[in-house]
Symmetry: C3
Subunit: 121 residues, 3 copies
């Protein structure tokens, strides 16, 4: 019975991004796209962004359209409140539909405690 | 009973490599060697390679002999099919005995769901 | 009952650092500080240091005071014995109160087997 339940609700995945390089951002977004293609459609996938990676979520990033397309496929974007505070960025300045988590690193821990897999490309 | 079973079959380890730098490859191969030395002999260890790291599995890599030696000690090499496709590499072009997984990042998730530890040096 | 027990003893966190760049060291120490702020006070947090990151634990590092302050807040520092041996560093040369683990990468595996979360900033 337990296995049936587990099969019906696959555990989620948190993907960790804290680097500044746009080429790295492109690679991680490709990884997320591959995850969506390969895993069960109901798998929850969150991309947790903190530190110097926050630029990915500003309108000037070259990857705005790619992020939008992944959000439309179900990806949840989590921006770190600690980073926003230290960088003097308000949530309104971010691209649409980014969730705010109090601490990016703590969120990655909490999801793992819930049984989610962790990826740090 | 459960603990006895767990002790008898230690969970495996997936090691994640997606960087291009041969010095990084050397460091990760040293990490794998240290894992083999330190963990129980029956521990399954897989090195999952995707993206720009795929060069480690081509005959031109300076680390071919080190990889061979680690395979002889039980290391399983997993190459990402998505990467092979996008890089126009056929499985026959890889060094011997590399397993092919449909998606490197998804494989890292599936192993964690099976209780394996994850390392991203 | 199980949930009550789990709530009373939150699982720990291992943070993995194997890079040489002092700016990276500063970022990881900020991440650890944010973890301490955000997680329950009784959460065990260990920073596992191996390979070229070992310089963070030598008296010449610019981050000695920050490490000391985090240790005073409960952070455990684990230095890799394999690294000390290959770099010809004795435990006495390290900053005070660094624990020694036989293998940094194996320690990260063992903690995950105990249910700890893993972070690799």
């Amino acid at each position: 019975m337990k296995n049936v339940t587990e099969a019906a609700t696959p555990s989620g995945v948190v993907v960790h991004l804290d680097e500044t390089d746009p080429a790295k951002h492109a690679a991680v977004l490709r990884n997320v796209s591959n995850l969506i293609d390969a895993l069960e459609p109901e798998t929850q996938i969150e991309l947790v962004i903190h530190g110097p990676a926050i630029g990915l979520l500003l309108p000037g990033s070259p990857h705005n359209e790619t992020v939008r397309a992944l959000q439309n496929r179900g990806l949840v974007i989590d921006a770190c409140q600690n980073t926003l505070r230290s960088e003097h960025i308000t949530p309104e300045q971010l691209i649409p539909d980014a969730a705010i988590v109090p601490s990016g690193v703590a969120h990655l821990v909490l999801r793992q405690r819930e049984g989610w897999a962790y990826l740090r490309p």
